[in-house]
Amino acid sequence: MAKRFTDGTLALSGVDLDVGQGEFLSLLGPSGCGKSTLLRILSGLIEPSAGSLDWLTAAQQTRGAAQPKLGFVFQEPTLMPWATALANVALPLRLAGMSRSEREDRAASALARVGLAGFETAYPRALSGGMKMRVSIARALVTCPDILLMDEPFAALDEITRFRLNNDLLSIWQEARFTVVFVTHSVFESVYLSERVVVMAARPGRVVREIAIEIPYPRDETFRTSAEYASLCRTVSLGLGEAIAA
């Protein structure tokens, strides 16, 4: 698969990637290597200029949908400032035409799942950065997506909040087992979270390595401080170093 923008920038070239159902996959790479572009192609927001995207899961075929249900978490929380947290989370359901009471019930439980019960009527500007991100995650989860696409969702957060959200994301994922494609440029985050790290290089954007992280879940703080984690991080760092040098 390849992507060339209208101004001639070749953002991706020769990308061939399989994503398994229920998998937690990280895309890791230097800035400008086309991670966001790849994610936007996966979401269907932009079309690849060459190659194609195939959805081949049994669930899709039985339902006859052309595309699985997606959840997208942007780098910024991307909330509507004029709407309360609850209305923001309920937005995808509202767009799908669900009745008010039902969508508010589901939005409230999605908010509770990300630890924000009691903040339904808060407006985004009254929430901290981490809380806004949680609202954004709740909005992505509210439709019970098959695939959750996350574009550096925690990049702007401090380390403590980030660790906490990492853990929360993992526990939600273990419960529901949707597919996650997680873009990051933090080696530590990618190793901690995912089953497989895909390392990308820039100019043109391409996949250079795939590293499996074969550590069973649940992963927690003991994993974060283990020697195993450190050695995996080293492996991935080296891979990333090669990718930058390449």
Partner: protein
Amino acid sequence: MSETIALPRLEEDVQPRLAVRRVLGVARDAWPRILMPLIIGIASLGAWEIAVVVNDVPPWIVPAPSVILATLLRDWHTLSVSLWITLQITFAALAVAAGLGLLLAILFAQSKWIELSLFPYAVILQVTPIVAIAPLIIIWVNNVKLALLICAWIVAFFPILSNTTLGLNSADHNLRDLFRLYRASRVQELFLLRLPAALPLFLAGLRISGGLALIGAIVAEFVAGTGGQASGLAYRILESGYQLQIPRMFAALFLICVTGIVIFLVLGLIQHLLLRHWHESAIRREG
């Protein structure tokens, strides 16, 4: 997906909102904003009064504030009728400007082509001096009131159109992607995303247009002159000028100023009420 998984609640809790201290029903720190201009106003009126009395200035050159007030009360009957006519024209023009401006901006937002083709004409309408075209409009339109309304509308219309167009196009691009991702229809995108995003700019435009509609109504009436049919405040000023009733001229001028200020404040209040929950402009900053 099961909905039962419980994550630890965040420690952060909603702060109970501190009660705003009120004096006579007005927030305490809003008082200086009301009192200071009032004190300045009263002081200048006092100085004016004293200056007129001490220098023995005749009322047909500069009347004292007390004389203007007396005239205002004595001629209240005619003046209030005129005020009412000016108000009608102003508000009708503002309403039409807001409605048409909004509709046209929505039309512009639907297609770049429509915007490209029509926007220059809106600019032409805006840059043409109203005094220059008012006589034509008054000749073409038989009904004087309607002619005045059209003139006031032309003056008031542009800020709403340009602001709302800008607002409709400035919705966050990630949010627009999000709407596309969830396959929102154009109508949904318009009502749930673009119109709310445009609201602050629309209201700012409305506030500018409120003043302009009044100016447009007054100017057009000056141009229309003493037609005698629609005798708003501008007509009173002209008439008083001819009859050398300078205090009445000042009284009419005073009413125009007060009208302008009231329009400005009312639109500001509407702006505050609609935006107070979310827009940066309407939120009181701590510290």
